[in-house]
Each structure stands twice: as structure tokens, then as C-alpha cells.
Amino acid sequence: MAYDFSPGHPHLLESNLMTSKELKELEEKLIARERSIFAAQKRRDLPAVEAVLAHGFRQISGSGHFFSKAQVLDRLKFVYLLDYWLECFKLVPIDPKCVVLTYIIRVERRYKGQEYANRTYRSSTWVERNGTWQVIFHQATPLEV
């Protein structure tokens, strides 16, 4: 079955058709890339994290604060990801070059010598630019307040 990204106007945008098989393959690829971002954070490979973030990347943190790409990368120097668990992945298709991946994550982190643990509902907006998928936007909402 073809997934039509443009309800009402399929005849105008035939290139916007993506089959459910293609969508499933894209979902699996982006879930693997999403996991690799946290794996890179855990082993403190910040260049690998930076490479996945698109130019212009921004983030709204779980405390409801806005961070630029430079601010996010700077903060990662001081935050140690000790462990993490990802679950409940869902893909929201936007168009053939953009999807939102949502999931729940539990993280254990250390910051300034103190350990923190929390669960948040996350979304990553992935965009394909020059053949490469990168994250352009990320937001977290706490599950337990």
C-alpha cells in the first residue's frame, strides 16, 4: 500500500508517494541512528553527536528551556550519560524528506558530581539534506513531575 503524504492532491505530488515498506525501512534506519546518538554520548564521542545534528539545530529541553546547537554541544561536555533505555517508538511521517520520530527515554546522568534520573517523552525531527538524514529539532517533555 502506498502512503500518500498529500491528502486531497495526490495527482499534483506523485513523487510524494512512499510505500509502507519504504516507510518501515526509513523508520528502522532512523531508530538505529537515534540510538547511535545516545551511544555516542555515553562513550563521550561528541564529534559523532555533532555530525548527526543539522545546521541550525535547536532543542527544547525537558525543563522547558531553549538551546541552540552550540549550547547543546557545550552542555554535553559537562553532562555524563551513565545509562539509558529507549522504548515506544512512533514515526510521524511529514513528507518524503522529513519525519518526526517520537519515543520515551529513561536516562541516568551525572552533572557536577550529582546523579539524576528521569523519563521524558521525546521527539526528533529528521530531515534529509543532500542524501543524508540529520536531526533539525528535538524536544523533551517530562513524564513524571
Partner: protein
Amino acid sequence: MLAKELKALEEKLIAKERAILAAQKRGDLDAVAGALADGFHEIGKGAKFYSKADVIKALQDATEIADYSLEQFRLLPVHARCVIITYISTVRRSSRGNNEAARAYRSSTWIEQGGSWRMIFHQGTPISLSPTL
């Protein structure tokens, strides 16, 4: 997209964003539904995943909005037919004596479909006073 076109798009989408809240305040859920794309989803209140139908149902049951303000709009272009708008909302609901305003940092993803812009994804995060992790 030229800077001038981007500025015009930003103003148009900010107006649409405000129109959605205005429609919620006056209880015009058809206008809200009309602004949302068919495949719309939201990470909303209580960090739950909502479909378009879930959101409209939740709005039918929601307490009336007494007052609201939107500020600090920023536009993030994704590509020619997709942009993300972020902003801070302050919403006061008229529930039984509890007149506290809820502040949240929000994002809306807008796409152009068949010549009109609709919201396809939305997420809100309550703003906490401790800006830690």
C-alpha cells in the same frame, strides 16, 4: 527561500498559531480541526501521545481558557514546504478558583499541502524554574 519570503511566512504562521488559540478560547473546534493536517499528532498534556481525533476530543472536555498570551516566537526552516515554530505560551484556565497560569515552551511543525499551510506535529513542555537537566 528569500529572507523576505521567510519573514512573510513567519508572520502568516504566527497569525495562524494565534488563530488556533483564539478558536479554542471561543470553543470553535471546527476551526481548530481545520488548521490541523490529517496525519497530525501531538505530545501533549501529561506527556501523552495524541492523534488529531484525540486532541479534538480532549479540547471538548477541557476547561475553558480565561486568558492567554504567546511570546518569543522563532522560526526554524526545515525545507521549502516545512517549518517549525517555537514559542512560549501562558494559559490561564477558568477552573474552580484555581487561577494559576501555566507556562510552556511549545513547538509546532507546519507543512504546505495543496497550497495551504497546516500543522502536522505539536509538542509542549512545562517550563520549570530549576533550569538543570
